[in-house]
Every structure is written in C-alpha cells, then in structure tokens.
C-alpha cells in the first residue's frame, strides 16, 4: 500500500525537517524550494500554519472566498480566493473537513492579481477558506460554508 507519506519528495522531506527546526519561513518564500508535502499533509489549520510558517489567521473583510452555497456534487466544487490588498505573498484555498485541509497554494507576484479560482473535491459539507498570507507576516482569511448534496439515484 502506498500512502502519500511514502511519496514525499526528497526536497519535501528536507522542507519538513527544516520546518521542524523553525527554518521554513525563509524556505517557503523561495519559490524554487519545491513541493511542501508537510503542508499538504496537515489535518488542521493550526498544523497547516505551522507547516507554512504562518501566524494565527485573522478573519478579514478584505479577503473574499467565492463558491456556491450548495454543490450538486462534491467531486467538483468551484471555489475562489481573492483580495485587493497590496503586499500579498501567497493565497491559499482550504477545505476544513477534507482529509487534508490544504487544497492549493498560489504564489503571488507583481504580475498577477491576487485572485485565483479553481475547482475542488469535497468529501462532505464544510467551511471553505480563502487565506491571504501577507509579506508582513499577517495571515488573513475569509470563509463560507458549502453544503455538499447527494445527487442522482444514489446507486
């Protein structure tokens, strides 16, 4: 049986080790550092913030999360994260009740809007978070509940 833990890349292992000794923030800011497997393994938002070297997230009206109130199918749920604030380092999309909370990390540059949309899988109804990690270390978020329904004949 192959688990995701077995698939940690070498650099990801390194990242995890560095995270353990508190060196991740510098590493995370370097985009070439590779895939942050520890972050994608995090089961809770505090664990995720630890893996990403972020502080405690604060709810903010300046961040928006988009998504439907109800999804016809959990296999494809359109969600988005956006903010007009300057000084954004990265945007995250989280699904609180998924096996791992983190779905996607978008590293922001001056050349793109801090506005990303994708589609995610949701195992059950859950809060979905848009998180903005700022250059000054602040972590801001917005959340909304998305209900996942059972569709079709269910057979």
């Amino acid at each position: 049986m192959q688990t995701r833990r077995d698939m940690l890349s070498h650099s990801a292992k390194l990242a995890a080790m560095l995270a353990a000794v508190g060196m991740l923030p510098t590493l995370a800011s370097a985009q070439a550092a590779g895939y942050n497997a520890a972050a994608f393994d995090a089961k809770t938002i505090p664990d995720l913030m630890k893996a990403l070297g972020g502080g405690a997230p604060v709810e903010s009206k300046d961040v928006t999360v988009t998504g439907p109130d109800i999804a016809e199918n959990g296999a494809v749920v359109p969600i988005g994260a956006a903010t007009a604030l300057p000084g954004v380092k990265r945007m995250l999309l989280l699904v609180e009740k998924n096996p791992s909370v983190l779905t996607a990390i978008f590293d922001v540059t001056d050349a793109v809007d801090s506005n990303f949309a994708t589609r995610v899988k949701m195992g059950q109804s859950s809060d979905v978070y848009a998180v903005a990690m700022m250059n000054d270390g602040k972590v801001l978020f917005a959340k909304k509940e998305i209900k996942v329904t059972l569709g079709g004949c269910g057979g």
């Binding site: 109130d69 494809v76 329904t149």
Partner: protein, 265 residues
Amino acid sequence: MRYLLIAGALLASVLGVSAQQKSAADGIAEYRKMLEDGNPAELFEAKGEVLWKQRRGPRNASLERCDLGKGPGIVKGAWVELPRWFADTQRVQDLESRLLTCMETLQGLNAVEIAKTPFGRGEQVSMEALVAFISAESRGLKVSLPQSHREEQVMYEIGKRAFFFRGGPMDFSCSSCHNQAGQRVRLQDLPNLTVNPGDGVGFAAWPAYRVSSGELWSMQRRLNDCFRQQRFPYPGYASDVTIALGVYMGVNAKGAQSIAPALKR
C-alpha cells in the same frame, strides 16, 4: 378552531418547505452557473478532433471519409440528425453505431470487439472523444432527425414502446422518471422526454461531461446507466433498443437547440 390551527400548521409547513426548496434549487442553479465557464468536455473535443483526422487501425486510415449521414466527411450538423437510416448498412444507426461502422470499414478495427469493451477502456476512450468532437460540431443547431424512411418511423415506434416498457425488480421504465416536466430525483431535474423538453435539455444536452465521474459520457453511456439504475439487465452497446430510444427521444425533441457536449452532475 382546531381545524383552523391544523390548517395553519399545514400552511406553515408547506410554506417552509417551498422556501427551503427554492433556496436549494437556487443554490444548485448558482453552482451550475459557476461551472459553465470551462467545461472539461473541451479537452475531449480537442482529443476527438485529433482522432478523427489521425490515420489509425490496420488500414492506417483516418475517419475523414466517414459518412455520418450528410455525406462522407461532413461532421457539421451531423449530430442533430442522428439516429437515421443508412443505406449501406441497411440499418438505422446512432452516432456510436455509425462510428463503429466507420472504424471497421475505413480503419479495419473490429467493431464487435469495441462494442464489447467496457466504458472508459481501450477504443471506448477514443469513442468518447470522437462523440465529444462530433456533437460539438452541431452546437447551437436544432435537433432535426429525419423520419422519411419507413425504418426510421418503425424505430420511433419501437423506441416509444421501449420507453414505456416496465420491468425489473423495481418496476421501472424510462417513463417512470421522464414523462412529466418539473420533477426531480434528489435535486436533479428530470426532463420530460415524451415531448420537446426545451433547448439544451434532455436529448439536446448529451453527450456531456459528467462531473461525478470526471468522464465524458456519450448517449450510449447515458442510456446504459439509466438502465443500470432502472435495475434492468445490460443493454448491448449500440444495440437496437438503445438506437430506437435515441430515435424516440430525438424525434420528440425536434427543434431543441443542442448544447452538447454539456456539463452534467
């Protein structure tokens, strides 16, 4: 007084229910709207176009000479006129059965083997891409199946009978779910397939990308899963009952604008 109370309670519960239904239905409509832009069916359309033009099979030929009913190689508008009578095979054929014919006669592939292949494997993968491409070439056109040939009319009558045929341990027929507008199974709207259910609804929405499986489903696959949920035995791929049902639904849907390949739950 007591009756008034009961009536009041009833009214309240009815109102409560309808408000809730509306919000769930609105929510689903909003969800579908959000998915409209960026239908993964596009990926299959692109792949299908390549497959249509690619030399393949033992004869190393493309499908570009395939006659889908409007003459060899004419793809545009072909989908909204299928199933129809084909003189060369002396059969009424739907898109999938016609593609089987072309894959065999032009490319030298084995149609019987392809029909037997489970969905999502081998040449069935090519088939789903091809139907995505071909149906997309009729996007926006109105469904208009020919009914001039006697066999086309006979197939309509057979399809109608198959549509109402009840069987299996649950006594279901196609008509159990699809003979009235405005009904749902869970939250999914059920089109009335005995009439034209409207533009881009029912017959005019398939093939479609199925969100739940992340696959493109041809009408053959759609019918196959209907029969599975109906608790029927397994309909042969491109078998006459499936083609007859295609004729019945297609003729009923005359004038409906095709949005295939659509996006479905």
